[in-house]
Amino acid sequence: MADLKISNVKKAYDGKPVLHGVDLSIPDSHFAVIVGPSGCGKSTLLRMIAGLEDITSGEIAIGGVVMNDIEPSDRGCAMVFQNYALYPHMSVRQNIAYPLRLAGVPVAERNVRVEQAAKILNLTDYLDRRPAQLSGGQRQRVAMGRAIVREPDVFLFDEPLSNLDALLRVQMRIEIKKLHKRLNATSIFVTHDQVEAMTLADTLIVMNGGRVEQIGSPTEIYREPASAFVAGFMGAPAMNLLPATVGADGQILLDAPGNPQGLARCALPEGSPVTLGIRPENVVLAETSGAGLPATVDLVEELGGSRVAYCNVAGHEMSVVLPASDDPLEGKPVWLTLPNQDLHLFDRISGRRLEADMTTGDKLAKREVETVA
């Protein structure tokens, strides 16, 4: 087991930077998930940790030892690839045993360790099959077997569940989590799937455009996103992000015809552009007029246990999570209330989070609603 420290790591291809200086510290035994959209540099960072990509500048240390120039196999890392990367001409047994054979482990010990790994991953019955004779989930388990048999200090997972169907993905996600609890090895998991990220992570690292946007626990990141990007990326359906402007006395007004509602206060000067955020499950929808923002329901998505209503609020789209019901809402006028304690405020230029004075905002909201009504 070992901790991982990444200091100001940069990567450029032909002079074009793709990672702009990443700093990370992952404690021993932690399960860290790097999440971000395609092309954000998360896989590049993982490959640099593995030693499969050169580091343009900066330092990567595993267990206190700088690994920049160390061969991938000597870094104490084992990697599980997105496409499994099994050796097609070898049986499951040979695949799992290959790293041990290369390390010169005696045959008897090798067999014991392969059998143990196969038992943990329920692969005992498939040991003599070729990868082509296995399902996607079984192949992924073989890839994990090949990783755990090495007893590495750090496990690296490069989007290992992306090629699996939805049901299998959930099963494998649970298996990975159980495996981590059992082996307790430091693990770094790269994904673009925020549900995977939220459910697996002890520490969540959100990346965007070659930079780390936020590091924290899944709940911290969900509840207090550090930027509009994080707010929009984490959570399904995504957080509603509405353009607004700071008015007189720091009052925030939606950028909509007639500025229908003042919602909160902030310390920015008047005229500053901001982005107002609220999670769809925090928006309160009422079918009777009287309070909140007037809106029209454009579309309702049925999810079985709940519904998502997509509403038009003064030209902006807002999604609202509603409890399951047969009440037809599409095309109907509704009124949306945005509780101040659930509002998030971001600087529209930098995208960074701002702290708003929500108590005052509540009063303002009420006053504005009266004006609108």
């Binding site: 499969l52 991938p72 990367a85 099994l86 050796y87 001409h89 790293p99 090949r146």
Partner: protein, 290 residues
Amino acid sequence: MTTEALRAPRIATRPLRRISEKSGLDTAAGHVLMVLLSIFCLFPVYWMLASSLRPANAMFETSLVPTSMSLDNYTQAIDAIPIARMLINTLVFSVLSTVFQLLTGIIAAFAFARWKFRFDKLVYTAIALTWLVPFQVVMIPNYLLIAQMGLLDSVAALILPNLAAALAILLLAQAMRGFPREVIEAARMDGARNWRILWEVLVPNLRGTIASLAILIFISSWNEYFWPLLLSRTAENSVIQIGIQMFMTAEGNQWGPLMAASTLASLPVLLIYIVLQRQVVQSFMKSGIR
């Protein structure tokens, strides 16, 4: 287009064909074409065999099946040239050329597929260009070199310029570039260095390409005529293609023994194909060389 136009049941306005009927007709037409092509390809081989069995006085008969049969042509051919020796020479030349071209091809292709180095594209292009240079351009320099080495009239001299070939390098480099990068990276993570990656991961997975390439090189070496003709001085150090040519003289062609020698020359290749038929077809299908 209006909404009504989009909703109109266009499918119902045209006759619907059953998939099986269509594919049945296509398959039958395909089979007829393949049978005709097969007859076109196999007829010269059959005619060679039939002619080799015709007695000298019936050599120019045009009947499809020989009216009388004899093995005299084979006896004459075996008496006229050291045919066994020539077949062994051809086999040694073909097998060693195949092995060496594959070996050099695999190693060179790995370098091109795996590493980026200065002028790599230039070197690769230069190798590709050597493939386009006709044999007639390089035969004189090659001949002089072999003569200076004192290797004229030897099997070694036949093999020497065939130790490496552009075709093998280009085909294998392409196959290696198409091999999943992740598998090679997984091998690196597992502790394999380049030599092991090449022989334990890449080569076993490129068996299809290597097998089809081996067959191509072997057949092309087996049929080599011009280079052995330049170097050979004695029948004992020559190959079977030169032996066949010995029946074509200024006084006239000895068609019977010529056909018998040709049949004997075809037998080893035919035997290899019969034994490895399944693997040969599979490897050509897998490697995409058809």
